[in-house]
Symmetry: C2
Subunit: 289 residues, 2 copies
C-alpha cells in the first residue's frame, strides 16, 4: 500500500475507535481539525520508510508507530498555536484549532491526541505485544521530559536556552523517534537509524528558521519574522541566511550518508533528496537558480 494511504487509513482507524456518538462532539471535531487534512506527514512517512527498509515484518506495529508520531506532532502544533504561545490564527492555510473552536477545546484536543497516540500503539501491537514497550519508550522519550518536543517548547520559557539543545528537543527528537520506531516496529536494530532521524530533524528546524526569516507564502505556516519578534533562538539569527542554507545542505547530505546498508536504502535516499529540495524556501531556490 502507498505510504500516504497507509498513514491516512491508520489515522482514520484510530479516530473511528476514539469517536463515538456518546462522546462530546465538539472535542471530536476539534481533534479531527488538528489532524485532517494533514501536512506532508513527513515524520510518519519517515517512520514507514525506515520500517520498509528494515523488512516491515509487522505492518500493524509500523502503522501504529507512524500514526502515534503524527498524532503527537499534530498535538504539539495545536498547543504551540495557543494564545499563550504563538497565538497563531492560522495553520496550514486554515484557522488554527483554537481560532476555530476556542482555547479550551484546543487545550483538550491536544491532550486527547496525546492519549490517542499511546492508545494507537497498544491497538497496533495486540498481535505482537512484546513490541509495545520498546515503541512506547522510544516515542515517549521523544515527546516528554527531559529531551522531547514538550521539553523543547519549554526551552522558550527558560531564561537561558542553548540553540542546539533547544532545536534537538523541539524538532530533532520526534524525527529521531520516527526512524528508531520504524526500525523497532520491524524488529530491527535501532541504533544505526538514530543519526538519520537526528540529521533530518536538524534540517527541518533550519528550514523552518529560513522560512521564518525569508518567508514563503505558499508553504509556510506562520507569519514571517515571528521567531525574531519573539526573540527565539534561530539558525538564521545565529549564522545568517547563507550560513543556514549551507547548514541545511550539509545536514541533508549527512542524513543520506547515515543510512545503513539495507535492502531499501536506494528508495530511502531518493525520499530524502526529494525532501531536501522541498525544504529550501522557494524564494531562495529561485534566487540561487
Amino acid at each position: 500500500m502507498d505510504p500516504m494511504l497507509r498513514i491516512e487509513t491508520g489515522l482514520n482507524m484510530v479516530f473511528a475507535r476514539a469517536q463515538a456518538p456518546s462522546g462530546p462532539q465538539l472535542l471530536g471535531a476539534a481533534m479531527r481539525h488538528a489532524v485532517f487534512p494533514g501536512g506532508a506527514r513527513v515524520r510518519a512517512r519517515l517512520c514507514l520508510a525506515v520500517a520498509h527498509a528494515c523488512g516491515d515484518d509487522d505492518q500493524a506495529a509500523a502503522d501504529a508507530a507512524s500514526v502515534a508520531i503524527e498524532l503527537l506532532h499534530c498535538a504539539s502544533l495545536v498547543h504551540d498555536d495557543l494564545p499563550c504561545f504563538d497565538d497563531a490564527a492560522t495553520r496550514r492555510g486554515r484557522p488554527s484549532v483554537h481560532a476555530a473552536y476556542g482555547a479550551p477545546l484546543a487545550v483538550l484536543a491536544g491532550d486527547a491526541l496525546i492519549v490517542l497516540a499511546f492508545q494507537a500503539l497498544a491497538w497496533g501491537t495486540l498481535a505482537t505485544p512484546m513490541r509495545l514497550g520498546p515503541l512506547l519508550l522510544t516515542i515517549g522519550q521523544a515527546v516528554g521530559m527531559p529531551g522531547g518536543i514538550i521539553a523543547g517548547q519549554a526551552w522558550e520559557s527558560e531564561p537561558n536556552a542553548d540553540l542546539s539543545v533547544y532545536q534537538r528537543a523541539k524538532t530533532g527528537a520526534l524525527f529521531a523517534a520516527a526512524t528508531i520506531a520504524g526500525a523497532a516496529a520491524a524488529g530491527a536494530q535501532v541504533q544505526p537509524w538514530r543519526r538519520l532521524g537526528e540529521a533530518l530533524g536538524e534540517a527541518y528546524q533550519v528550514a523552518d528558521d529560513l522560512l521564518d526569516a525569508v518567508g514563503n507564502a505558499q508553504t509556510t505556516d506562520k507569519p514571517v519574522g515571528r521567531d525574531n519578534a519573539l526573540n527565539r533562538p534561530s539558525a538564521v539569527r545565529a549564522y545568517g541566511v547563507q550560513g543556514a542554507l549551507a547548514l541545511l545542505e550539509s545536514l541533508a547530505k549527512a542524513a543520506s550518508e547515515s543510512i545503513p546498508d539495507c535492502p531499501g536504502a536506494v528508495p530511502l535516499r531518493a525520499l530524502i533528496a526529494q525532501e531536501a529540495r522541498r525544504l529550501v524556501p522557494k524564494s531562495l531556490a529561485q534566487a540561487a537558480a
Copy 2:
C-alpha cells in the same frame, strides 16, 4: 510497604527518570509543583488497594498503574485550572501551576505529565511486558475520547450536556480505571471491579458538587459557588443539598457492596467507609450530628 509510601516512592522514581540537568528546569519545577505535595492520592490508593485485594503478585506493575493514574489526575487539575477553564489561582492551598509558572509552562506541564504517565506504565512492566497493553488500554480509555476525563472536561464546552454522562467521564472514568487497573496489574479478572470504581467516582463527584455549594474552607480546592457561576451541571443543582447527601450515602453503600469475594475485602471495605466519611463536607456533617 505502606500504600502512601509506595505511591510517593513510585512518583519520585518516575520524576527521577524524567528530570535531568540537561532538561528545561522550569518545566521540571512546574511538573513537580503539580504533583508534590499531593492531595489524598485517593485514586492511586484505590488502585493499590484493589491490587492488594487481588494478591498483588506484581508490585512493580501495580505501582506503575497507581503512579500513572495519579499523574493523569494531576495533569487534568493543572489544565482545568488554566485561565481558559476555571482560572483558579490556588490549588490545595498553594498557587496553581499557571499562577506560579505562567500559562505556557502550565500547558506544557500537563502535557508532559500525561506522557510521563504512559512512560511509567512501560517502565513498571519491563519484567512483565504482557501486562502493559491491558493496563495502557484501561487507563487510556479512562483519560481520552470518547468517555475519559478529557472528554468529561470537554462536555463543559458542549451546548447540551447530560449530567450523568458528564460526571461519568469527568470523574467516574478514572476511578473505574483505578479499580480495573489495580486488578489487571495483579493479573486478576477485571470485570468484577468496575462497579466499585464507578460508584466511588460518582460519590466523589457528588461530594465535589456539595463542597462547591456549601463550602468547606479546610478542604475544598476551589471558591464556593463556582459551578453555579459557570452554569455547570451539578448534583446539588439537580437534587438539592439533602438529595445530593442521600445520593452520596447510597453510592458509598453501593461501592462497599460491590466488592467481590476476595482475601482483601475487609480492609478494602474499611478504606471505603473511611473515605465516605471524609467526603461529607464538615459543615454538613456537623449539622447532621
